[in-house]
Symmetry: C2
Subunit: 188 residues, 2 copies
DNA sequence: GTCTATATAATGATAGAC
DNA sequence: GTCTATCATTATATAGAC
């Protein structure tokens, strides 16, 4: 390996990718304020300076790593008659503890005014409006809003704060009610 | 005023009180990570050093300023038949932009692992269990959990992220559905 | 393309004078 | 009881060598 190769062995694209992956995981786990650029760089195995080189700023990295992942495609694909059950199974099932979850990243970053402000339009379009377009019948937007609010609520209480559920019996009871509560807004 | 009085004109109790008031407002507006002890001290009109003098640490101040305010007494007092309407009116009404709101403080502080961890038991007792004790019929805990999750969801989407509602018509439509959705878990 | 070194600023916390 | 002064740490971001 030549001296030049030592500094070229990954390439801009691959380096961006590993930074984005590390950022997505850290932002998900600790939120925006809780994730330092140093920690992200270390996790990615790159030099700190490269974060600003490729993304301009920490906020720019959040935009690149989290915003494009904000989607509900995984939830709305499939029969909408099983939507409530599907969402309930996701939140009250095995709980994968995914290494990167953009919704967790957003909910853990609500303390940053900069992030919250920049996300408003994106969340509206990618969540509320996108879901509404998958709902038949009237008042689709209000019904989509109710569903998104409930998903945000369960995410905060179950995954971020982990206040719920208390035990296994409670988990089943809440899961059942949650599925029905979501589904009623899908149905009308 | 003597030299001694210059350094005694408020007293420990009053000084603690103004610090707590300033902290409650700043933590509510910017969350834990977003509120520096210097900003809190400045807002309170006291010296920074007094924060550690009286509360030991920034976390100790959060405990003193936010945790005792975490209660749903204001919501559960009154006829439970009107609970859903009451909560909906609160979140979709004039929106007071209260200067201090402990729930906002918590939701904006979820990025801090230290805070989230220390709040778990308190939130469980003061919100879920407290509300459950105000519900008649079976499965009170699961129903209380559903209500708390929906309140957390509306708080995040409406007050913290302000993704909803889009306009006035939407506000009314969501408010109506939200009130009914809450009330159904009060009724059984 | 990647690094070292550093600028600059802010943080939480403490010691000790008054 | 309150202050000044400061410590020690950490943060984001940039300049410039290689």
């Amino acid at each position: 390996m030549t001296e030049a190769e030592k500094q070229t062995r990954r390439g801009a694209e691959a380096t961006s990718a590993v930074i984005i992956q590390a950022a997505a995981e850290l932002f998900s786990a600790r939120g925006y304020d809780g994730s330092s650029t140093r920690d992200i760089a270390e996790k990615a195995g790159v030099n700190v300076a490269l974060i600003n080189r490729y993304f301009g700023s920490k906020a720019g990295l959040f935009d690149a790593a989290i915003v494009p992942m904000l989607t509900i495609h995984g939830l709305v694909e499939g029969d909408m008659a099983g939507f409530g059950e599907r969402v309930a199974a996701y939140y009250f099932g095995a709980l994968p503890d995914k290494t990167a979850d953009p919704i967790l990243a957003v909910l853990r970053s609500t303390g940053s005014a900069e992030i919250a402000e920049s996300l408003r339009a994106t969340l509206r379009a990618k969540f509320v409006d996108e879901l509404a377009s998958n709902l038949d019948g009237h008042d689709a937007t209000a019904r989509a809003a109710m569903i998104i609010m409930q998903i945000a609520g369960v995410d905060v209480m179950v995954r971020v704060l982990r206040v719920l559920p208390g035990d296994e019996g409670e988990r089943e009871a809440i899961k059942d009610r949650f599925a029905k509560s979501i589904q009623q807004f899908v149905d009308g």
